[in-house]
Symmetry: D2
């Protein structure tokens, strides 16, 4: 909805994007959000949750395609397959998508497919694109990105150890992965797998590779799905998977052996913006629910509507301020990617990564508190949005890793400069004192003479 474009960013949003934004908003509000409970019901119970493909998803995908809402994430100027929106413009759309569980998939803009399509579009060769990118872009199949491992500190990608060994015209993979999001979906046909192909390489950034592994390759076992708080996120799911002598043709290597770091770094930037903007949508939706609650005429503790309680009004106001600040942070990052590329936007992306989820979690938590029991239950979208948002402080590296990196960068960029500036200023001050024939006044600087009276 164009009323959510901060004025500061408005002059960078094309008329077409504005029109599309209105369509996205309407589609999300009127079709997707109402469809979320249908999705839940169609997913079913027990083991069936991992086998069903909810019909509602395909229906909504048809609707979205007809509305021209398809693959909007592929940024203009970066991908020839792009429908023509900038990162800023898609970011504003992603905010709306983030309000519904089903909306992103309905528009073929769901993680991890988005990042995976970017990898294939950017680094894949023609054969790889034809086999995997085409059906992904058509929404025919889904994909997973297998990087995180259970037995190492994966926040540092150098620790990734899944073994990749070349044997003839094949690579043989052995090891374990988890948090393989999307791997639970029966339509998930392709894994993009990071592993260690050259552990002895002197350059630690050349030890890892990224390779394409069809999900049904022999030797792959899905052990189980990981839950997020009490949610299993079926049928999508977060898989714990092992590779036991899994063999794939050498032609499945992406970009070339040893170029894994290059690929994952290229993958992460815009994806973080997507996550962040969806999180803002979640925060806005939480605020909407809170607003509904505090005006509910049935809910009058101590004779007053909740909206008349000053403490609650302060929650609403702070939510407004924080969400607006968060949106500006993400829009600024998106624009920086648009203008300077993801590499030129490292600080801005990291800022969004760290700032936004805290805001979203805080807003949702306050909404939960305003609801009381209903807030933690299935009767509001709050609990599941909270659980989902909580993972954003962990995925793609925990906050703390980003903060350390940012702290170091800031110090590198400005530490020596700050010291030099302040030193120079103090020299100038000394010259000025001389010029004005003055001395700095200091409190109690005549006390020494007093001591003589002792």
């Amino acid at each position: 909805m164009s009323d959510r474009i901060p004025l500061i960013a408005a002059n960078r949003v094309s008329d077409n994007a504005k029109k599309t934004l209105d369509i996205v908003k309407k589609f999300v509000e009127e079709r997707c959000i109402p469809a979320d409970p249908i999705l839940s019901a169609q997913i079913g119970e027990g083991h069936a949750r991992w086998e069903n493909h909810p019909a509602i998803v395909e229906d909504l995908k048809e609707e979205a395609k007809k509305l021209g809402l398809w693959n909007m994430f592929l940024a203009k100027g970066h991908y020839k397959e792009s429908p023509g929106f900038t990162n800023l413009e898609y970011g504003l759309m992603a905010e709306h998508l983030g309000k519904s569980r089903v909306a992103s998939e309905a528009c073929n803009c769901a993680a991890p497919d988005t990042g995976n399509m970017e990898v294939l579009a950017k680094y894949g060769n023609e054969a790889q694109k034809k086999e995997w990118l085409a059906p992904l872009m058509d929404g025919k199949i889904r994909s997973a990105f297998l990087m995180t491992e259970p037995n190492v500190a994966s926040s540092d990608a150098q620790n990734i150890t899944l073994n990749m060994k070349q044997e003839g015209n094949e690579w043989v993979l052995n090891g374990s992965k988890w948090w393989s999001s999307g791997a639970g979906d029966p339509r998930c046909k392709i894994y993009i797998v990071m592993g260690k192909s050259d552990g002895g390489n002197k350059d630690p950034y050349k030890r890892q590779s990224v390779i394409l592994v069809p999900a049904n390759t022999p030797g792959i076992t899905i052990h189980r799905m990981l839950s997020v708080y009490g949610f299993d996120d079926a049928p999508h799911g977060h898989g714990h998977i092992s590779f036991d002598n899994v063999r794939v043709p050498a032609s499945n290597m992406v970009l070339g052996a040893g170029r894994g770091f290059e690929i994952i770094q290229g993958r992460l930037g815009p994806g973080r913006i997507h996550h962040a903007m969806r999180a803002i949508g979640a925060a806005e939706r939480a605020l909407e629910w809170m607003l509904m609650r505090i005006n509910d005429p049935k809910k009058k503790p101590f004779g007053k509507n909740l909206r008349e309680h000053g403490v609650i009004l302060e929650w609403v106001a702070k939510a407004r301020v924080e969400i607006d600040a968060a949106r500006l942070i993400v829009c600024n990052a998106a624009i920086t990617i648009d203008e300077l590329g993801a590499k030129g936007a490292l600080t801005e992306i990291a800022e969004a990564k760290v700032f936004v989820p805290r805001v979203t979690l805080e807003v949702i938590d306050k909404a939960v508190q305003a609801f009381g029991g209903a807030g933690v239950s299935q009767d509001t979208p709050l609990a599941s949005m909270w659980a989902n948002s909580r993972t954003l402080r962990i995925v793609d590296g925990p906050d703390e890793v980003h903060l350390q990196q940012m702290g170091r960068n800031e110090n590198k960029k400005r530490g020596a400069l700050a010291t030099a500036t302040i030193n120079k200023q103090q020299e100038t001050t000394n010259q000025m004192f001389a010029k004005y024939n003055l001395k700095p006044s200091q409190i109690g600087d005549q006390i020494q003479f007093q001591k003589s009276r002792m």
Copy 2:
């Protein structure tokens, strides 16, 4: 474990209680915590979750009884049925029970049975005690407390509207309840129900009554169970239940019609201490898991164990400080109940109610963050402890209600006094100025003369 008794409280803990504390600790650490995953497995999948009674629970109950760990919550001096521990002493035990999902039930100290047994012991007549208190104290049946309603702001108990109408020798109940915790358990045989029996009474504190309703009374429908951040808490559960012309004999009324407020106020005090101390146990367990994680030799992001990262050490330290402060707050409240009764401990109980869950949630959240993905998943106890602890900021009244009440009380107690004190001090100051023949010095108080130069 006696090493968790703050020195400040130690001289109030009897030798017998210290010995029992050690037994509780050992039982929880060595039997109950290991049994928690067995419990999960025995609960099963799908609808069976609401029908199974996990065998492990009965086995542990046998063990506990043999160890003398049974009904410790019934406070010495308050209940003739008490095994002889003070609220302080049981509080220290409850900390250990709070580390395991199964431990409280294993010792027959689980909510809501504890509060319900207190109600029956304190307010029940002999027939009611014989029929319901006896089997509850034996651990033969379980119970639920039905107060919260879906369609009103239940944080203000005056809003409770379930209709209770006397017809001849029966009361007829109509209405809805939710968050009826424990109602999912097939062994839950008795509901203690609050309703409105005399809505027109001029005294708003005499409109409600509390009555005993056997769970299998015709007209009762359990519609569904409420989830807590994705967890269904089966088989215990949190029921959404309706009453449609449910008839119970007038003799099931507790204490007398119109005395509901009296009963619920008597019920809440010690229960809040139990919740709070169990929450401290949860915090300690979260800290233990965090400590394990930061020493895990396999988890070395950027070449250093997590324990070498200053930020993480600060988390550990702050957790230690906050948990210790929380424990002191609860111990002080327990002692105040022991010495002055629950009514004399309103402020101290409210302080524990508000202070402790925030600490627990913060400690658990930091532990989650230290773990990354594992922290939000089923592989650590953190996610479910977090969800459980989050409800403590809501149950028995949301924090905000308690804070408003405390603020008002503090102002009532000390507002006028503070004004009088400060005014009197300022008078004395004026007299002293006179005595010393001085005037207060004020900055810039000679400026007026300067203005004349203009």
Copy 3:
């Protein structure tokens, strides 16, 4: 410095403004900051602090004028006297001015003169402009704005009670004012005074007026100056002033009797942006000092430079994120004023008012902590910047007043809408369930049958 323009705002900054920004930056860094200690020394000690006019100020004013840095605050399009910068452009300049104590005055952009000049330019008649606006714009005199009163809750301007009574061709003023900032300066020649001229008016927004009172009018007494955390802010100062039958000609009334609210509302908008942007400058300067400190080779607690301590790096990173968010918030507010006027930017201005000082205070406080003792002392600019920034949470209305107002507005704008939207979505959901021939799945919804076994 143009490197501080967030990319998101850059395309709204003219080349001329960018050039001027560079000049401002250089002037502040190389002339003003070094001059601050000279200013302190020239102010002197004791009562002389209120009589001296530090020579350095006039010297810097000469320099600034030559550099074309004069009255930049008067926004393009709003004032015919404007040097041609938008609120956004001046905002970016104000950030630099905020790094030095003397810089704003050196460029004739210091509060309260800026707001007062705006009032005169916007609401003054030609005679008033000639007599007071002209010398103010020339930097010949200074001014004060007398609104706050010691005996009422001034955060609610309706409480202002200084009595204004018309007698013939004069208005007679009686009452007290305090926090009359700038009134200590011997060059402060004119007070813009708000008072109650028609207390009985039915429209509470027509009871107050604003009138011009020369500082040397008989009947005015400056009782003293108020300190801010021990700082007297001489010679500027914050006056406590009484009016005893102070008579001014009726022609001194601004805009007309009863139009005081109109004037103060017009006055506040851009001024808050100025305060906010200067506060960001203070935060950046605090961060610079912190960076200097953590790289100081002499300061190595426990064998490591402070920059190697993870906790400190996190402070640096969080400061970076928060400052950048704050700057975006203010830039967005400035742009909104530029495009929609101050009335159209109420929310955005309030967001800046509330968000920015908290960030600044937090960054300064962390810098203080990094310095230890030096941080609280006169050896860094931190303590005085902190005290100054702390007042921003109070002046022009305390945070809490703005938050309540924002909360109410947000609820007014979106409360009913949110309720309607969610209700409509739930209706659609129900229709979809019907269409797909499904029922919402609910946990434990078959339990009712189980109860029959009892």
Copy 4:
């Protein structure tokens, strides 16, 4: 006043101490607090601030002595000179002393004299005691403790570098000190100085010594006094002092060369408790002022007394909770010192050191905000209490140093234990699974078979 003794600690407070507490309370409330403005006026203006000895202080000392309020800090059982109070009992008194600026000195319980007297009583020889301890205990002279240095990171005492060289029967001192609190007072006659006497010693804890230096020894220059925010704390003051070949007799060495660490460690424990309890007194006084303000009938923003605003009531309530938690933390630490000595109470003392000042600062800051302008000014005690309390996060080592130390200790004490416990629990779980013939249930663990359909 005995109404501030937490029940949890009450049975450890003797009747005599309770009586004395009441006397202290009365003396502080009725004599000292009213005298604080007299003190300010007697201190005077300009350089005189460092020469005056305010008469009110001596008058109050006379009163205090007559009331039996003298040297209460010297703990029973630790010092033969003790008036007979435990650390807990004195701690409770110190809370009252902390409400007034003059009260501690009036009772001869002011820092740094208290710590210095402890050093002399504990480590001084008879001659040292006679010359310096006796007049200090009589309140005839005052003292300073010179440890912190301007050019090193003094939070790590190993960095202390003031050079101490033995020449014949003398030690010669060269170097600089700052934050020498109390050195501004003309009655400050003795400095206890830490320096480096044996920089080459292999044991880093034996390089420093502590020596007694009369304040009027030639070679000592007081350069200036350091301010705290804008307060100079005259006449006490915080000195910046240099030593230029300052010669003192070898007999002035305390305990023996190389034993400096031993001394400063013994000095710090109880002193931190004193600081902490006085800080709680400051918090209570701030809360009293806030209560006065919110009941002030003249201060009604938007037609309601401040006490009717929910947000403000929440501030009051949170202040109550946090202050009570803080008091418990300090009482527990005091009791631990009483029972186990300062060495056995390291964790508890550090907890008080870190926890309390944050609470005090927060409470004062909220009180400031409730007052608005008056809060930051000289019209309330809030601003100066805030500045004073802010230093507590820095003196005796910044919070961060204590937190790192605590984190490391906690990990040392419980890290390996936690790992072993959890591992053992998991083994037991496995045995239980075997016993019950069960397998852990895992979500989605049958998915592998489904993949075959692909």
